[in-house]
Amino acid sequence: MAYSDKVLDHYENPRNVGTLDKDDPNVGTGMVGAPACGDVMRLQIKVSDDGIIEDAKFKTYGCGSAIASSSLVTEMVKGKTLAEVEAIKNMDIVEELALPPVKIHCSVLAEDAIAAALADIKAKRAATTKATA
């Protein structure tokens, strides 16, 4: 199978590989997929007090398109507000990376990872608000 240049670029030079402290109250972690299915993505976002994503890191086990999709997502979310990030859809990733139909599930997984990371940070924030209230 031939990969698009964009997939190859992200695959060969993945952006923002790494780990943030998952116990940091300002870090949201989303881990989606399953080893048995051949892909697991972990996306982490660090959110400032005024709701801007200051940093994002990923690690992904999966095919080249899955790695490229998660690398792209870290670039897409940085500097955005939570609301803006919520609006990112898998088709944005498909278009940007020119993913073929058999690889659309990689983009869906990346969208799921964003949703999971957002849910985690929101839950953390809700918990701290409650604790301080």
């Binding site: 990969y3 989606v32 080893p35 048995a36 690690k59 086990y61």
Partner: protein
């Protein structure tokens, strides 16, 4: 390093290049100046000469497996041979019984043929291999029934390279009067074959795994005691009615020559393959969390199938773009399922997804193996740095205990 030809071909079990000596022979059988006649033409020298060439090729194929030439039926490849053998024998014996025994790790050419027979009302038992990929003889004996008419077990597995005990199975099927078919597409030139010692009744062969051309194969059909099969392709009655169609002289000559060379060079080649395989394994074996799939000794020397845990096979193949190998990962298969062979030997999905098959052959060199070792180590290390599963493993988290969101 200057003599390295990139990409390096380490997928000899998928197919092999045609040996120059074979190609030269084939080219003599195509043009007006060459041996282009129809081997079935009885009325002129063009036909006689072509027939002579085809019969010489038949002798070469027969000799490699310890058969007589009359027992060789030409086909278009191992897929057709498997179909002809299994359907042919099952149909011929359908009044005697309708039970077939095979294994879960067979090639699709066998498994899908059996599926078709199930749709026609036959019953098929698909035996599980042991964890080392070999057939469990006790389970095999237990599976035999009064109405079992055909047993089909492959000689060398195409994915994991393990060699089944064909003689051991043949002794049992002969005693019980059951037809024994062996898919030996992967064995010529790698493992000695003697159809008499092994008590094989039907054996599928092809040329393109032995430095011959694609699109040609043969089925060995035993004469004493006679193996009876029903033809699947009807027409001009070629090959004693078992497989009609004009014989493709150049293809058959190519297969014959490739089998002749295989017989002559097998002993030497196997020693060299074993050295290359050991060199490759020695170069990677100290890496953490890697597993060889299939029995380490009961396998052909040119095959090394390794699962690199916590790395996904397709991405590994992408990183190894200078090396042509294949993977059991779902992402590289048309079905989007991980290798059914690795699943059958009890590997979990992760290990099946993480597997790479390296198969070496006649033109492989030490230099290529050394280059491969370097690339594999680099790629696996890089991908593990990217892998959340590797992180979790390093933190001591048992991945089996995690609740994954299956999708």
């Amino acid at each position: 390093m200057s003599s390295l030809n990139i990409p390096i071909y380490l997928d000899y079990s998928a197919t092999t290049p045609v040996d120059e000596r074979v190609a030269a022979k084939m080219m003599e059988c195509l043009t007006k100046q060459g041996n282009f006649g129809n081997p079935a033409s009885r009325s002129h020298p063009f036909g006689w000469k072509a027939e002579e060439a085809v019969e010489e090729a038949r002798r070469h194929v027969a000799e490699l497996i310890g058969a007589v030439p009359k027992e060789i039926v030409w086909t278009s490849g191992a897929t057709e041979s498997d179909n002809l053998a299994i359907k042919g024998a099952a149909h011929f014996n359908k009044k005697k019984g309708k039970h077939i025994i095979t294994m879960k790790t067979e090639h699709k050419a066998v498994l899908d043929t059996c599926r078709q027979l199930e749709r026609e009302g036959f019953e098929v038992t698909y035996l599980d291999p042991q964890e080392d990929g070999l057939l469990n003889m006790a389970a095999f004996k237990d599976a035999i029934r009064e109405d079992t008419t055909v047993v089909s077990i492959m000689h060398v597995n195409n994915e994991i390279g393990v060699i089944q005990d064909i003689a051991g199975i043949g002794a049992i099927t002969r005693e019980k009067g059951i037809m024994f078919h062996v898919d030996a597409a992967q064995s010529p030139g790698k493992v000695a074959i003697d159809v008499d010692e092994m008590n094989v009744d039907l054996m599928s062969l092809c040329a393109h795994k032995v430095y011959g051309p694609k699109g040609v194969g043969a089925l060995y059909v035993r004469r004493k005691p006679r193996a009876r099969i029903e033809a699947q392709i009807h027409g001009g009655g070629h090959e004693r009615g078992m497989r009609s169609g004009t014989l493709a002289t150049h293809q058959l000559v190519g297969m014959g020559e490739s089998f002749r060379i295989a017989r002559e060079e097998m002993a030497e080649e196997n020693i060299r393959m074993g050295q290359l395989r050991d060199r490759l394994w020695d170069g990677v074996k100290d890496m953490e969390e890697i597993y060889v799939n299939g029995h380490m000794d009961q396998r052909i020397p040119g095959n090394l199938n390794i699962s690199f845990n916590f790395v996904e096979g397709e991405s590994l193949i992408m990183s190894l773009k200078d090396i042509a190998v294949s993977s059991g990962s779902a992402c590289t298969s048309a079905s989007l399922e991980p290798s059914y062979v690795l699943r059958a030997i009890g590997r979990n999905d992760e290990l099946a997804h993480s597997s790479i098959r390296f198969t070496m052959g006649r033109f492989s060199t030490e230099e290529e193996v050394d280059f491969t070792i370097g690339k594999v180590r680099e790629a696996v290390t890089h991908l593990r740095e990217l892998s959340p599963l590797w992180d979790m493993f390093k933190e001591g988290i048992d991945l089996e205990s995690v609740e994954w969101a299956h999708h």
